[in-house]
């Protein structure tokens, strides 16, 4: 049986790892290559780099970080942030990432998912989604709306509809981030995670809000997520990946505990 995956996310800005709260106020927390290697050794099942570099001229720094990391970690490794074209995807894949995550550009140009899947295979394409709770309406029946540009712009589209659409276009996985929960350490947004996990046939990664191993337990059971993304919990030394996995294993969740 498949294990539930624990994925460590590093926000990378100008070659350094940072962490923000509700997408704002980023502080530097370390070197991404060293941190990725440390989490690999500690038993992370996957590493995600999210490039939050604002300027295009610094993109090359990210490619270099990806290349150096790929030489040192031998688990799946995804890169997202600012990917706008098949050519952008090709660059990070060639640098050594397994998967690319598209978010804003896919909402603005859904064909990007299809073209990426055709060029590199669905297993390479992760749809990143940022969602925020709203009053359910005829336009947004699930009560969760898709936002883009790092949580700065609402799109008036329904989160569940978009997840299914992305699956049809060829996305191989969905990484669902709740803007309301992000950085709060109060737990994942279980309702929308479960709605999407039940609506699509591809794996769903829950993101945003983890502060305690119990939160991962909730989202991997009640929330029906296939994987849980963590950041602050491990970046500040509150928990190690191993402690989180031991907690989950004790509660009966199948996780990879030997490596």
């Amino acid at each position: 049986m498949l294990s539930k995956r624990i994925i460590v996310c590093l926000d990378v800005k100008d070659g350094k790892t940072t962490k923000g709260i509700k997408f704002k106020d980023n502080v530097e927390v370390g070197d991404p290559v060293e941190m990725a290697e440390k989490y690999y050794q500690e038993g992370a099942d996957e590493i995600v780099f999210y490039d939050i570099t604002a300027s295009a001229e610094h993109r090359g720094i990210m490619i270099d970080v990806v290349r150096r990391t790929a030489e040192r970690i031998f688990i799946p490794f995804s890169v997202g942030g600012g990917i706008k074209s098949v050519e952008d995807m090709r660059q990070v894949l060639l640098a050594g990432a397994e998967k690319v995550s598209v978010n804003t550009a896919a909402v603005l140009n859904p064909k990007l998912i299809y073209e990426g899947a055709k060029a590199f295979g669905s297993q390479c394409i992760v749809l990143g989604m940022d969602v925020k709770k709203v009053e359910p309406s005829s336009k947004i029946p699930s009560g969760y709306e898709v936002w883009i540009k790092g949580g700065r712009q609402p799109m008036g589209i329904d989160a569940v509809w978009w997840a299914k659409e992305a699956e049809n276009l060829g996305a191989g996985e969905i990484c669902l981030n709740s803007i309301d929960a992000d950085g709060t350490k109060e737990g994942y947004e279980l309702t929308i995670t479960r709605m999407i996990a039940e609506a699509v046939n591809i794996p769903v990664i829950a993101s945003g809000g983890a502060g305690h191993p119990e939160h991962l337990y909730q989202v991997l059971t009640e929330g029906k997520a296939d994987a849980a993304l963590i950041a602050s919990m491990v970046h500040y030394g509150m928990y190690t990946v191993k402690e989180i996995k031991d907690y989950l294993a004790k509660k009966g969740v199948k996780v990879r505990t030997k490596w």
Binding site: L2, S3, R5, Y40, N201, P203, W259
Partner: protein
């Protein structure tokens, strides 16, 4: 020197990086003449069976792989490479493949329920291998280790004796096969952390 077969099927550099980690020398090539110089061959791959076969035929790599197998050179198949080793795949409406081993490649059923839980296809993530019998390439692996899989199809060998490991995803499927100088894995050793690296290292030292 280890030859990595390039048939335009996915990212081969991750396999190369794992070999470099141990200091092994490698070449990535689509030229049978170049690959003939290698002492052992890795046949990786991600993608679809039909385009893989088209590319193998176009470059003459199909004949090269058959000859290499008969010659006794150690070959390691990975993921799509493993599937293409068999005779026929259900993928792309039925694709005739290399036929180094007897058997076919089938797709996981869909929709796919096990004990009321819906199982997803592709089978993507970490899973265990239940080892069936010993083999030098797989020695010393803790049975609790897990390996990274990404696939929608699985191999069904005709001869049960080639099955060295099975994995469970709603059904039990063969995830490790071996025969003579050939070993083939459905999972990605280059992405399976230390246990996967151990398999690659042991393959590179194996003299069948």
């Amino acid at each position: 020197m280890i030859g990595i077969v390039d048939y335009k099927a996915g990212n081969l550099t991750s396999v190369a990086r794992a070999l470099s980690f141990f200091g092994y020398r490698w070449i990535i090539s689509d030229d049978p003449e170049e690959l003939k110089k290698a002492e052992r061959i890795i046949f990786p791959g991600v993608g679809a069976a039909k385009s893989a076969m088209d590319s193998l035929k176009e470059t003459g790599l199909d004949e090269f792989l058959k000859e290499t197998f008969l010659k006794g050179t150690p070959i390691l198949g990975i993921c799509l490479g493993t599937q293409v080793i068999f005779e026929e795949s259900e993928e792309d409406g039925g694709t005739k493949t290399l036929g180094l081993l007897k058997g076919k490649v089938k797709r996981f059923p869909e929709p796919f329920l096990f004990k009321g839980e819906r199982l997803k296809v592709p089978h993507m993530g970490w899973n265990q291998v239940v080892w069936q019998k010993p083999h030098p390439v797989f020695q010393g692996l803790d049975p609790e280790y897990e390996y990274y899989f990404v696939h929608s199809y699985y191999v069904v060998p005709e001869e049960e004796e080639v099955i060295y490991g099975v994995t469970f995803h709603g059904i039990s499927f063969p995830s490790v096969v071996a025969y003579k100088n050939l070993v083939a894995l459905q999972f990605h050793p280059e992405k399976s952390g230390k246990p996967g690296l151990q398999i690659l290292d042991q393959f590179c030292r194996w003299n069948p």
